[in-house]
């Protein structure tokens, strides 16, 4: 081979196959590698990478599980979900942004808050359209705005909204390339990424068992799949859908294969959820429908049954738990006079008391692991701290950590657990993995150019979940940063904004944002975005979707198919794998990668050399490869990976012996292997919460059932429920990764993908039980309106037995298509109307499920007359939305 670039250009010939990881977590992490066949600069097909494409399987030591006389061997190909297979549609979507845009009535020469011609017209964000700019003009404006804002207000004047969901890319990181540039300018105000799919674990469960950083089990998950196969008799899947979230977040379809195998092994799977979710649909031995966000009542009744019948592990509680008595006082009614009996619980949660008793009996007598698909409705409602804490307590009552008794997340978490343990405590609690560990865990983060949670926190920061309040009121005064990687101790730290002597932010710089459709109370957020003190909204995005509609300047970034990059499957799925991600096609239109965009801005600011460290993209790829340690370990040379494009790390032959499974060490010796709680034990009563927040009735020291409170009134028992009679259940989407891929029309053709309305529009499915549909005169296929005080949105009715009565089910993340921005959405973005208030007063988590709303049949003709503009936008039969719809076609104001 002559040189790297020669080799690469010769491969850029008419036909080639490149590798691209199909993970959509938005961090540098990657997974589920695919092979992309390209011909004449066009993507022909995307298919799973077969591990043995260029290697003999014995090169990577294939592993297998053996349990109960049966064997499980992982497939010889990456577990690619349909997202990767359909991604060609995303790359070529008619909704791609192909050149820089400026809002037609936003003039950077205008004074802050100015309206009319020559003004900034913040009041028109979300309404007015856009005109094309050249890159030169765009970069001039952007550089001048950054300079002006930093000079006027200090670096805190720029808010970086630099995290979220998107493709997994390393050098061309879709989130946070901006952070490194702003650091060179003295800092910035940071939007803090909350634990957006595990709120309850973070704000609640950590006070029972630590288990940093997430509060769900990531610290002690080594070999946990194997432990379940060998020792577990029953799996409880409460609000768990391993057939959705893991698809986009590293797990791929691994959970499918293992869930089927567990059934073959005779392990019973019990699903407790308002909906017969996608995992329950095919894996459930029993579905127990529970009303949204009432799980804690059910859990308290289980504890009640175990206490009164003595069917819990008393010896374990004696040695591994503190505060059991105070917990028992509440459960038995000694604290409040209300025993938490199955009958009591049944009225709250809708599960028959006899079923609760049967569940208590089985869980109390069979080795049970509770599993989660990572997040889910169970953990994202008001007071989500309570079910999360209760779950750990229930596991504790049954000997948490004993073989077969664990909490298992269907998304590999050991990597995060390990990285945080190493960075924070200088030690690594775990080195194994959920699947059999490789001999080396490759880490290519040395080349990551994006945002790294917690490692780069700024003094000036705003929790994402209260951003709208902070814009409106100009300040906050809270406990806890809400950073998803912060330890439990942080929740007792007092924070204020703006920092003393510093300014509020006045410019927002966002990369691939999706707040409106993925975070809390999107409608309120949109109103806040029109606040005159926000002088500039700069957005980078590959697609004209969601928050882009509120930007002043839009810069077109591109997809991973258009760049050279490096990938690493380090959420190990079947195997750890490192791969070169060679450019598949030339960039579409005038688009550049997010990294290249920030390089160009840095160049305008005279900071290119410092920003890039003098390195080209090829240099960074080498930096990432070198960081993996594969060459030093004698596994794979730089030459070999250039030749073969990928390398599969061999399985450690000692994987089973070397890494203790789950929490067995804590189980066997809690003194030697303590949890990271103050006592080192499981804290059923949290002294720390009692001392820091003695008056907090929403997160008291022992988990409680909370009917309503200062923060929330979202129960069927309340006054509001007379008007809004149904509880919304909203999961991670099946046919999207959060907001991503809603323009892939091939998913719209799937029965639960979209409902094609009588007007041909692709409406987001709204599930209703036949009894609820009948009451409202709704039939499958009807266009319906979901509403509460916070706004309304349209959807397409899907009447089904997969949902219990009393509930509306809708996936979050539907593309936002405003009829009236901030009030009424056609696309079905349910998060536009979820609660403004956070998890509870001292927990700045978001609430996106388990809230009240009503649904009614929609008169489409009347709406079309009332809102002619919204119903006549350019519309693609395929994707539903086109880039052209936002283009200004009349007289310009340029």
């Amino acid at each position: 081979m002559s040189s790297d670039s020669d080799a690469r250009s010769s491969q850029r010939a008419s036909e080639k196959t490149v590798i691209k990881g199909a993970c959509f977590s938005g961090f540098g992490d990657n997974s589920t590698p695919t092979c992309v066949d390209v011909k004449d600069q066009r993507i022909v097909r995307i298919r799973p990478l077969h591990w043995d494409w260029k290697y003999n399987p014995k090169d990577f030591n294939p592993w297998k599980y053996e349990a109960r006389g049966k064997t499980f061997e992982p497939p010889m190909k990456a577990p690619v979900p349909p997202f990767g297979l359909a991604y060609k549609k995303r790359v070529y979507s008619p909704n791609r942004i192909l050149f820089p845009l400026k809002r037609v009535d936003w003039d950077p020469a205008g004074a802050p808050g100015s309206t009319g011609p020559g003004g900034r017209n913040p009041q028109n964000r979300g309404i007015s359209k856009y005109v094309r700019m050249s890159w030169d003009e765009a970069l001039d404006i952007v550089a001048a705005e950054i300079r002006r804002v930093v000079e006027t207000y200090g670096p805190e004047g720029v808010l970086l909204q630099a995290e979220g969901h998107s493709e997994g890319k390393l050098i061309h990181a879709p989130h946070g390339c901006s952070t490194h540039l702003m650091n060179l300018l003295g800092g910035y105000t940071q939007q803090i990424r909350n634990p957006d799919s595990w709120e309850g674990w973070y704000w609640g469960a950590k006070h029972v068992w630590g288990n940093e950083p997430n509060g769900c089990n990531m610290q002690y998950c080594s070999n946990i799949y194997n432990d379940v196969a060998k020792n577990t008799e029953m799996l409880i899947c409460q609000g768990c859908d391993q057939e959705t979230t893991p698809w986009g977040f590293g797990g791929g379809t691994l959970a499918s294969n293992l869930s089927f195998w567990y059934t073959d092994l005779g392990i019973r799977q019990i699903y407790i959820s308002p909906d017969l979710n996608y995992a329950a649909a095919v894996h459930a031995d029993k579905w127990i429908p529970v009303l949204p966000n009432t799980d804690v009542a059910l859990q308290l009744a289980l504890a009640y049954q175990w206490i009164v019948n003595g069917t819990y592990d008393k010896e374990y509680v004696e040695t591994h738990v503190v505060g059991f008595d105070k917990f028992a006082d509440y459960v038995l009614g000694r604290e409040d006079g209300v025993p938490k009996t199955p009958k009591w619980a049944s009225e709250k949660c809708g599960v028959p008391s006899r079923t609760i008793k049967a569940l208590a009996k089985q869980w109390g007598s069979k080795r049970t692991t509770v599993c989660h698909g990572y997040g889910g409705p169970y953990i994202r409602g008001p007071y989500s701290t309570e079910p999360a804490r209760m779950e750990v307590i229930l596991l504790g009552m049954q000997g948490l950590g004993k073989p077969g008794v664990n909490q298992m997340c269907w998304v590999e978490g050991s990597r995060i657990g390990e990285a945080v343990a190493r960075a924070r405590w200088g030690r690594s609690g775990i080195v194994g993995a959920q699947t059999p560990a490789p001999i080396l865990r490759p880490d290519v983060h040395a080349a990551y150019r994006g945002y790294i949670p917690f490692m780069m926190k700024q003094p000036s920061m705003i929790p994402k979940t209260i951003l709208h309040d902070v814009i409106d009121t100009g300040a906050y005064d809270i406990y806890g940063s809400s950073d998803q990687m912060d330890p439990a101790e942080d929740q007792f730290i007092h924070y204020v904004y703006p920092l003393p002597g510093k300014n509020e932010f006045h410019m927002m710089w966002c990369d691939t944002p999706c707040f409106s459709t993925c975070w809390n109370d999107g409608n309120a957020y949109q109103h806040s975005l029109r606040n005159p003190k926000i002088e500039t909204v700069l957005i980078q995005h590959p697609w004209m979707e969601n928050d882009c509609l509120f930007a002043d300047i839009i810069l077109p970034s591109n997809t991973k198919f258009e760049t050279d990059d490096l990938g690493c499957d380090d959420w190990p799925v079947w195997y750890n794998c490192v791969y070169l991600e060679e450019q598949a096609i030339e960039p579409r239109g005038d688009s550049m990668s997010d990294y290249e965009i920030v390089v160009a801005i840095a160049d305008r600011l005279g900071l290119k050399e410092e920003y890039t460290h003098g390195k080209t993209v090829d240099d960074w790829i080498k930096v990432g490869f070198d960081g993996s340690g594969m060459e030093e370990a004698g596994l794979c040379s730089w030459e070999e990976i250039q030749d073969k494009q990928y390398y599969v790390i061999p399985t450690d032959p000692d994987w089973e012996k070397k890494y203790p499974a789950g929490m067995i060490q804590f189980y066997e010796d809690p003194e030697k292997y303590p949890m990271t709680t103050p006592s080192g034990k499981l804290e059923f009563y949290s002294q720390r919460l009692a001392e820091n927040f003695p008056d907090d009735m929403e997160r008291p020291p022992v988990p409680h059932w909370i009917e309503r409170s200062e923060f929330h009134d979202e129960r069927l028992s309340g006054e509001r429920a007379k008007k809004y009679t149904l509880l919304v259940c909203s999961n991670h989407p099946r046919w999207r990764v959060h907001a991503q891929m809603d323009d892939v029309n091939w998913f719209h053709e799937i029965e639960t993908g979209k409902v094609i309305g009588p007007d041909g529009y692709h409406y987001e499915p709204v599930w209703l039980h036949p009894s609820e549909a009948k009451k409202r005169g709704i039939e499958s296929g009807d266009v319906v309106t979901i509403f509460n005080e916070r706004g309304k949105l349209l959807g397409g009715a899907y009447v089904t037995e997969r949902l219990m009565p009393g509930v509306i089910y809708i996936d979050h993340g539907a593309r936002y298509d405003p009829i009236v921005p901030g009030e009424f959405d056609r696309g079905g973005a349910i998060n536009t109307i979820c609660p403004r208030k956070t998890t509870s007063k001292n927990c700045a988590g978001m609430v996106t499920s388990g809230f009240l709303a009503e649904v009614e049949r929609t008169d489409l003709d009347a709406l079309r007359k009332q809102y002619p503009e919204a119903f006549s936008r350019p519309f693609d039969r395929g994707s539903g939305q086109t880039f052209e719809r936002v283009l200004h076609t009349g007289e310009g104001t340029r």
Binding site: V80, P82, A86, E243, T253, A281, K361, F747, E751
Partner: protein, 273 residues
């Protein structure tokens, strides 16, 4: 001769097969095997949700409809242009150049898996990705993309153990299909049994199911939740008896399996004695 296995019991409903088929055939021209599939509306490998039962006893099965590559293919016989042929490996192909859009094959197909392309004015269907098989691929895109092993493809001889326990779709059509199904959804009758006095689920009750002729077709014991399931039933009318020592037995008649049925939670009263 090639054959395909579709194991419904291993399908997670991810639709990867349906999507991969579109990825392969939409906007890609594989003449002489196939011309491009339209962007939407055609499903050469069609997945379909079948929601079975009523709350809370519900399951979902994912059915797959695909050209059966019949040995006695009615489409082949119906085509007046001689555009449809069977390859040596068993694959039935509609020649996209010879096809002149008479739609006779569409009417002749008992499985409803041939589509009409209005723009190209030709009939189109699954080709088992013969253009890839001819390049050395071992299986079509749908099978390559199936993550769970629910779809398998290969020489009939190599699949004979699976074929032995498989069923064909519409065997009465007698056209020699080469797609073999495992676990085709039939009908189920499910329910639960409880003791209202104790407010407990009744475990280990014996439930026996009889057909319309009064012949016992199955018995089951209730599980820890008091639940029982009879799956794999034909369409018909059944009766049921639930009994447990110490309780008054109950009988339920006229259970129709026009659709899968959750007959609900049944009260079992303690015997007087």
């Amino acid at each position: 001769m090639k054959a395909m296995i579709i194991d419904i019991t291993k399908c997670n409903g991810c639709y990867a097969c349906q999507i991969a088929c579109k990825d392969e055939h939409v906007a890609n021209d594989w003449t002489p095997i196939a011309k491009p599939q339209p962007d939407t509306g055609q499903f050469w490998m069609k997945t379909k949700d079948i929601v079975r039962g009523q709350v809370p006893r519900v399951k979902v099965a994912y059915m797959h409809h695909i050209c059966q590559h019949c040995d006695e293919a009615p489409c082949l016989k119906a085509c007046k242009m001689g555009a449809i042929y069977k390859r040596e490996d068993g694959t039935v192909i509609i020649d996209p150049v010879k096809c002149s859009g008479h739609k006779l094959c569409i009417d002749a197909c008992p499985y409803g898996v041939i589509y009409y392309n209005n723009d190209l004015q030709i009939a189109q269907k699954c080709t088992w990705c013969a253009h890839l098989l001819d390049k050395g691929w071992k299986e079509p895109r749908c099978v390559d993309s199936c993550p769970t092993g629910a779809l398998q493809f290969g020489e009939e001889e190599d699949l004979k153990d699976l074929i032995a326990r498989a069923e064909m779709l519409l065997p009465e059509a007698n056209v020699g299909p080469r797609i073999y199904y495992i676990g085709l959804p039939k009908r189920f009758v499910a329910g639960g049994v409880y003791d209202p006095e104790e407010d407990e689920c009744v475990e280990d009750a014996t439930v026996s199911l009889k057909d319309a002729a009064g012949k016992e077709v199955a018995t089951a014991k209730t599980d820890g939740f008091g639940d029982f399931w009879f799956d794999g039933l034909g369409v018909g009318v059944y009766s049921m008896r639930v009994e447990k020592s110490g309780y008054v037995p109950i009988e339920i008649i006229d259970i129709s399996t026009e659709q899968d049925i959750n007959i609900g939670d049944l009260e079992l009263s303690k015997s007087a004695q």
